[in-house]
């Protein structure tokens, strides 16, 4: 315990091991910083920017920034909260997120963040893009309408040789995360279920599964996302 360092989040004195990422160090001190593309045990990449905090007047992603001694972090100020909310709203309008018809509703992290920040309506106009749904695999449906490009499936769903079942295809505004056609044919049930679980939204679905938990008993029905983080 010799390498403990002190730092501050919104003025609150905190302690953590040197080198820990801010988001984890904050959680150790009972402070929740929202994340979406980040996952425990996976190398962070700071894609979604939901976890943005202000350090020395600059916005940094707390999932990729290690905490240092004496660091002063601003996380819950009104403008940062609004920035996070605007990112959630952008994600909602840039895809087709029909919550009432989604198998992941109630267990969806994007929706849960919208609940936590009480998004009543996005401030941006809806794009309603035309996106395909790939149901060619015997076990998995990949719905591009809901994908937020967090890359969690690409990083975590691999076969015994370390090959990813999911890959990026195309570039720029045509970018999509697709299930490898050949590997999709042989994906086993446990891996398919893990893929659905690791997807923060409803973009990866296991066939013949959905709506099996009644409303009121799902993950985010009663408690906001991040409620597990407290001292």
């Amino acid at each position: 315990m010799s390498n403990l360092i002190k730092f501050k989040i919104d003025g609150k004195e905190c302690m953590a091991e040197a080198g820990k990422y801010i988001v984890d160090a904050a959680a150790d001190n009972g402070i929740y910083i929202p994340t979406l593309c980040n996952m425990k045990g996976v190398k962070p990449k700071g894609a979604c920017r939901i976890c943005s905090v202000r350090i020395n007047g600059r916005l940094m992603t707390s999932c990729t920034t290690p905490v240092t001694d004496g660091m002063e972090i601003e996380s819950n100020s009104a403008d940062i909260q609004d920035l996070r909310k605007s990112i959630i709203e952008l994600l909602f309008v840039s895809g087709n997120h029909f919550c009432p018809a989604c198998e992941k509703s109630g267990n969806c992290e994007l929706q849960a963040l919208a609940y936590r920040y009480q998004m009543m309506v996005p401030r941006y106009p809806y794009e309603f893009p035309t996106k395909p749904v790939d149901a060619s695999s015997p076990r998995i449906i990949k719905d591009q309408n809901r994908c937020i490009f967090c890359k969690r499936c690409i990083k975590t769903i691999k076969d015994e040789n370390g090959r990813s079942y999911f890959v990026f295809r195309n570039r720029g505004h045509k970018l999509e995360v697709v299930l490898d056609e050949e590997m999709g044919k042989t994906i086993d049930s446990a891996t398919a279920h893990l893929a659905m679980e690791n997807c923060p939204v409803g973009s990866i679905l296991v066939k013949e599964k959905g709506f099996d938990t009644p409303i009121g008993k799902r993950k985010f029905d009663k408690e906001p996302i991040g409620s597990d983080i407290k001292l």
Partner: protein
Amino acid sequence: MSKPVVATTSLAGCFGCHMSLLDIDERILTLIELVEFNKSPVDDIKTFTKAVDIGLIEGGVCNSENVEVLKSFRKNCKILVSVGECAIMGGLPALRNGIPVEECLHEAYIGGPTVQLNKDGIMPNDDELPMLLDKVYPCHEIVKIDYFLPGCPPRADLIWDALVALVTGDPMKLPYEVVKFD
């Protein structure tokens, strides 16, 4: 002093939000003490007969009639509230937004697997029928909307609390459980 006047309508909706309004149970007795209803399916008044304070809009905008009704609500109501996912973002009707209108109509009236009686392949074409829009629009992309109550349907408690807050001018409580999108 006269009571605040409320009007409601269902555009491209399923009347689920109106049902949710009825889910306030016995508070409906307090509601009729608090407000007076004007144009609404609740009392079957078809046209505005006086200036309205609060207009509740259920459903998105999918055809020319919806546009007309929504605009008349904006004209006659001081405050407009989008009630439910369809009014806020188009909802389930907006699932057609990625599909050309012609394809939708063809599926519904000519090519669909349940179409049996339409042997002549006629699509509804009477002049009296409202024209379908190219896609389903959220209400706030057509007129200015003042408040939004999400949910499919919005919880009865959310609708009730919002109505009471609007009528009394008191601040509204928004507990975590009532703001849901499904």
